[in-house]
Amino acid sequence: MMPVVLNGSSIKAKSEEAGVAVSVKAVNMVYDGVHAVRSASFDLEAGKFLTILGPSGSGKTTLLRLIAGFQRPTSGEIFINGAAVSAVPPHRRSIGMVFQKLALFPHMTAAENVAFPLKMRRSDARDIPARVERYLDMVRLGGYGARRVHELSGGQQQRVAIARALVFEPDLLLLDEPLAALDRKLREEMQLEFRRIQRELGVTTINVTHDQREALVVSDEIIVMDGGEIQQKARPAETYRSPSNAFVANFIGVTNFLDAQGGERRAIRAEKIRIAATRDGLAGTDMIVEGLVVDAIFEGERVVYEVRVASLGDALLRVFDHDPSAHSQLEAGSAVCLGWAASDVLEFKP
């Protein structure tokens, strides 16, 4: 299919200003006695793709709904393109949103769904069909406009929801875990699709997810949340390589926590540990421990070992061996040596 060129001049102009598109300042949200968001503050540059990552109950969805305007913060203020929006109802904000359950209108066709925001925003009726067509083309649904929502597959419904959220060229696109319900293959395909569309239009995007892989794949920046608080805001690689605290390290990637020394917690990523039958196979590592293989799980491109290490207080370490064909797989019950470089150890202040 030909790439579709959109004359989204207004969006391009906005992103070229490269100012701060969204600014959240000291926002608190308390309802039903639950402190869902605690003094959250961050700035998001125009045109960037931000993912708010966290477990369920971390306050990530609440923060998104505050930005969308479905709820008002208990305290603090949210600015979109420099304007305070707390008192602005959702329908007066220029925000496109893709909902968790998509929230497509079942009594309308795909094209009518996409045309809805244009009609509600009183666009020139003569321009609407062409605009709808263009955005359906953009999400690769050209020719599907006349289909009813229930006649479309899950992936196609996702695309209609994206087109509907973007067709009125909003200042901001919000994604409320729309991919959570999809199977893995389709989810990964749609992640790349989101990324492609976001880059094509340059629209500032905030995505909410509990899927660390999705966060790493699609985002320019990641905010990790836990217990209503922002734990870290950084670029994906930085979040992965130098997590700001033990929670972030544990939530993203597979992390082994070693003994605590003087209140400081130390950790090592599963893929940074090398495994061998003898010490001779661990040249180049400066920390070596001995252990017993408890389980060896063959996953195709890698083998995941669980190794019990007596010298670390019987800790169970997880080790990824990414080149299992280079040597034969170690069986459960065999004695092994683990080694890693001291520079790969992550250290967290209590």
């Binding site: 479905f70 109802p89 359950k101 009594h107 009125f168």
Partner: protein, 314 residues
């Protein structure tokens, strides 16, 4: 093979025996008959109703001999001629028809916000209060409720008492058309709310949030999203209210005081006052025909599928 025997406990063997017995009494191939068997009681009831209708049809074709008080032996259309020509029946028919349409419209308009708040409120207390207020009148019954209105709206009733305190002379609030319609609306409201509530529950709240984020204020969200999706509930509730008020007896009798008869009251008079079974049957059949016509009209306008029947709507 002792071990194998103990691995097959007594209770299992009892269940096996029971199952074998059940299979003997009711072989699996009879299974296809079960749906029809379950349908049978309802079919029987409807069948009896058809029989009654047939007898009424027969009676409607005979006239009453006022000297002997016996029905004529021969068939005649005289009753139908009377029903269509005597102005009294035209007045009654028009009063019932126009009244039930107005009651339906008023009830739906009042019931919709009630059902909406009941379904959407986040406060369980408010939901419970609304439910109690809805069900309480059901326990009271139509006749007692109508008497309640007599007490409140009568010449010496609470409303006129209150008016006299501020120096307004008593107003005749009862025994007119509007009193009957008022009573009917009040009577029908719970039916309509109960039929609308499931239809509104079926509309995901997220759709309304989505409409908001797409630029629709609450009025346009209501018009373009909630109302079209609530259509099955509105059609169902409308049909129930329409047929119930078209055929109502107690409200016109009690709140109309004999001056505001609906068709059912006219039928009652023919059967139990003048004992003219023939004319009574004719009016009854005409009422059935009118009701069926109205329901048929609603189905043609909105489609039977609007009641969310069949597999087409998922």
């Amino acid at each position: 093979m002792r071990a194998a025997k103990s691995a097959y406990p007594l209770t299992w063997r009892i269940m096996d025996a029971l199952e074998a017995f059940a299979a003997f009494v009711w072989p699996a191939r009879f299974g296809r008959a079960i749906p029809w068997l379950m349908l049978a009681p309802a079919l029987l009831l409807v069948g009896l109703l058809v029989l009654g209708l047939w007898l009424i049809g027969d009676a409607s074709l005979r006239t009453l001999d006022t000297s002997t008080f016996l029905m004529s032996e021969t068939y005649t259309l005289a009753n139908y001629r009377r029903a269509f020509t005597e102005s009294l029946f035209a007045v009654v028919a028009w009063r019932s028809l126009a009244g039930s349409l107005m009651v339906t419209a008023a009830t739906l308009i009042l019931a919709f916000p009630y059902a909406y708040v009941m379904v959407r409120t986040s406060s369980p207390v408010i939901r419970k209060l609304l439910l109690i207020a809805l069900f309480l009148p059901f326990f009271i019954g139509q006749v007692v409720r109508a008497y309640g209105w007599l007490i409140i709206l009568g010449n010496q009733g609470m409303v006129n008492e209150a008016l006299s305190l501020v120096g307004i002379a008593p107003i005749r609030l009862l025994y007119n058309y509007w009193a009957v319609l008022f009573g009917l609306v009040q009577y029908m409201l719970p039916f309509a709310v109960l039929m609308l509530a499931p239809a509104l529950t079926a509309i995901p709240e997220e759709l309304e949030a989505a409409a908001g984020s797409l630029g629709a204020d609450w009025l346009r969200t209501f018009r373009h999203v909630v109302l079209p999706l609530a259509r099955p509930g509105l059609v169902g509730a409308g049909l129930v209210v329409l047929t119930l008020s078209l055929t109502d007896f107690a409200m016109p009798a009690i709140l109309g005081g004999g001056s505001q008869d609906f068709i059912a009251n006219a039928i009652y008079d023919q059967f139990f006052r003048t004992s003219d079974q023939g004319l009574g049957s004719t009016l009854a059949l005409l009422l059935v025909a009118t009701g069926s016509l109205l329901v048929g009209l609603v189905f043609t306008l909105f489609g039977a599928g609007t009641l969310a029947m069949g597999r087409a709507r998922q």
